[in-house]
């Protein structure tokens, strides 16, 4: 096990491609592995894994491309996901449990339950979403260790 010093951080960065369902979850899995290596509590890792996976999936499902950045500090993990996608017209509506615009073929795979954003909110200690129609969406989440 590696131990992070007080002023140390680990930065992980991943490019995400829309519709790349074959690679879905790889970025989140890598983040999870690093968190395990530095000995973060299992229940905390679980919350980070859910938050990052849902954000990763939203780029793959709803956008064309994006970047996911994880900054791991001794006391917290910050996850920022920025995409070049269609943006979200009504964020309050998108945040509602069960709301989804995912296409049918995506739903058949079991995605598109409209629980992604609610899961992110529930699992993170800080959650922020910014979106501009035609430009893209940025999600920032902080999970305390």
């Amino acid at each position: 096990m590696i131990k992070l010093k007080d002023n140390q951080k680990i930065l992980l960065e991943f490019n995400l491609a829309g519709s790349a369902f074959d690679l879905a979850g790889e970025a989140s899995s890598k983040i999870k592995r690093v968190l395990q290596q530095i000995g973060v509590a299992t229940e905390v890792i679980r919350r980070i894994a859910i938050s990052s996976y849902e954000a990763e999936m939203n780029v793959i499902i709803h956008a064309c491309c994006g970047v996911m950045r994880a900054e791991i500090y001794p006391n917290r993990t910050e996850i920022q996901v920025e995409d070049q996608g269609p943006g979200i017209a009504d964020i309050a509506l998108a945040m509602q449990e069960g709301f989804s615009t995912a296409p049918d073929f995506v739903r058949e795979m079991g995605f598109g339950a409209g629980m992604g954003l609610p899961n992110m909110v529930r699992c993170s200690d800080q959650f922020d979403i910014q979106s501009q129609i035609g430009k893209g969406t940025t999600v920032l989440m902080v999970i305390n260790h």
């Binding site: 369902f21 074959d22 879905a24 979850g25 790889e26 989140s28 899995s29 999870k32 299992t42 679980r46 894994a49 859910i50 996976y53 849902e54 795979m109 079991g110 995605f111 339950a113 409209g114 629980m115 992604g116 609610p118 899961n119 529930r122």
Partner: protein, 111 residues
């Protein structure tokens, strides 16, 4: 319950290469909706689903699920088995419906 015990009690087949008889399951979860599995399944659960595509391996790994039962005679994709292998997740298949599998698991005390 140890998974080798589960294999004796249920008509399930080990679908992939990875298998460890000592893996244990405690409690279970059934759904084909991945975000519900992410949000509600617990680490150590057995997961019953009718999805056979590779994303189930990623979801199980992130949630900490070590055993997936694919019900209804659905066969997992080759990529699913490869991913599950890498992530050390046991994939079982069965002709039983999801309803029957869950009922049987309950009877075995996996609640």
């Amino acid at each position: 319950m140890r998974i080798e015990e589960l294999l004796k009690q249920l008509p399930v087949t080990v679908a992939g290469d990875y298998f460890d008889p000592a893996v244990t399951v405690a409690g279970g979860y059934v759904s084909d909706l991945l975000s519900h599995v992410m949000g509600q399944a617990k680490a150590g659960n057995v997961w019953v689903t009718m999805q056979g595509h590779q994303n189930i391996a990623a979801v199980a790994s992130l949630v900490g699920i070590a055993v997936i039962i694919i019900a209804g005679g659905i066969q997992p994709d080759t990529e699913t088995l490869q991913k599950a292998d890498q992530e050390r997740i046991v994939i079982l298949t069965t002709k039983l419906t999801a309803y029957e599998v869950v009922g049987r698991l309950y009877q075995l005390g996996i609640c």
